[in-house]
């Protein structure tokens, strides 16, 4: 019987140079792998692979040198430890994420749950070509949001609380965008310059800033054969519902308009940026 490589690839089994050997890509969400999964992965890599794993550029784990005849046993043994194969090919790929505000002192948004929700909604969804989501918790951009087809970057909208302020001036000094100015003990924030990084609020000794977390989105990023930085279309988004509506709209636009094997960026270029703007703005406004 002929080997159905397309189906294997869809199920995360990547054909190797070596005949009948596969590098098994596992499903990882937001870069989080449990110790239980690690134990199962270790056992499988020792028993069926070559005793090592490869960590991919997008937070994935692959077990190389899995033999064709062992695939079913491998899946079964991994499943016992809660590890499942990932995907490759023309569909929504691994949702990557940094650790976000639950762990990182700089994090503006919670990323672990968000990555899981994006995964539940979109992972593996069939599309004309690959489609990558990445979630980064703040402007430090450790997760490189703009290199994804759809990048999500956390930020905070800040507002000054006058009666808590001691006019120490720290916020004005830490603002890298020169958006904060203090005159006669009054703080003014230039909303045109503010990039939602939250440094003013994080460094304020008396917590004299109210903060509202939210999302900055970028569209059409690429970092492969062609390189393109994803672009912003709509302003800061404060609620997850709107975020998901926009993700839905962008994916629908890609499905409706893309040619086979055409990345999002090139669909946008061919169809017209204004067409994407239209659907994204519509979703933004609800």
């Amino acid at each position: 019987m002929a080997t159905d490589y397309a189906t294997l690839k869809k199920g995360g089994f990547m054909k190797q140079k070596q005949k009948d050997h596969f590098s098994l890509r596992l499903s990882v969400v937001g870069g989080q792998v449990s110790t239980e999964q690690l134990v199962a992965i270790t056992e499988v890599a020792d028993k069926y692979g070559h005793g090592y794993v490869h960590l991919t550029s997008r937070q994935g784990v692959e077990i190389p040198f899995i033999k064709l005849q062992d695939i079913d046993k491998v899946k079964e043994e991994l499943a016992k430890g809660g590890a499942t194969p990932g995907v490759c090919g023309p569909r929504v790929r691994t949702i990557t994420a940094c650790q976000g505000s639950s762990v990182c002192p700089n994090g503006c948004i919670e990323t672990e749950e968000l990555a899981q929700e994006l995964n539940d909604r979109y992972f593996g969804q069939e599309l004309p070509h690959k489609f990558k989501f990445g979630v980064t918790g703040c402007q430090n951009n450790c997760l490189k949001a703009e290199e994804n087809d759809l990048g999500i970057k956390g930020g905070v909208r800040v507002s000054w609380v006058e009666d808590k302020c001691i006019s120490c001036g720290v916020c004005e000094k830490v603002c890298r965008e020169k958006a904060v100015s203090i005159r006669d003990g009054k703080v003014t924030i230039d909303t045109e310059k503010c990039n939602y990084c939250g440094r003013c609020a994080l460094s304020c000794p008396t917590d004299a800033y109210d903060t509202t977390p939210g999302y900055l989105l970028s569209f059409g990023g690429l970092f492969g054969n062609s390189i393109n930085k994803g672009v912003a279309i709509v302003p800061f988004i404060e609620d997850k519902e709107t975020l998901f509506k926009i993700c839905d709209a962008a994916l629908q636009f890609f499905k409706d308009n893309a040619n086979p094997s055409e990345r999002f960026k090139f669909t946008i270029d061919r169809v017209g940026r204004e067409k994407l703007d239209e659907v994204v703005w519509k979703a933004y406004k609800g």
Partner: protein, 83 residues
């Protein structure tokens, strides 16, 4: 230069070191103090003024004032909280 009426218990100059020793020196100086005592830190513009106040806050101490000396240096007044 603005008037600052803060009774200082100890002073430390961190303009002769760079990150992360700026914060280390500040932290060591704070360790020498008792709860409620005030440390005055002399620090440079740029990275020190952007990072040291936040690190001090994250350690749980109270920042009372940041004074701009208008010569590229600052005075940071910190009240020690806890032992």
């Amino acid at each position: 230069m603005a008037d600052v009426n803060i009774a200082v218990d100890e002073k430390v100059d961190i303009t002769d070191v760079v990150c992360p020793v700026t914060f280390v020196k500040t932290k060591v100086a704070l360790e020498e103090l008792d709860d409620g005592q005030i440390l005055q830190v002399h620090l440079n513009d740029g990275e020190p003024v952007q990072n040291v106040p936040r690190s001090v806050k994250d350690e749980g101490h109270q920042i009372l004032k940041l004074q701009d000396n208008e010569d590229g240096t600052y005075e940071l007044y910190i009240k020690k909280v806890g032992d």
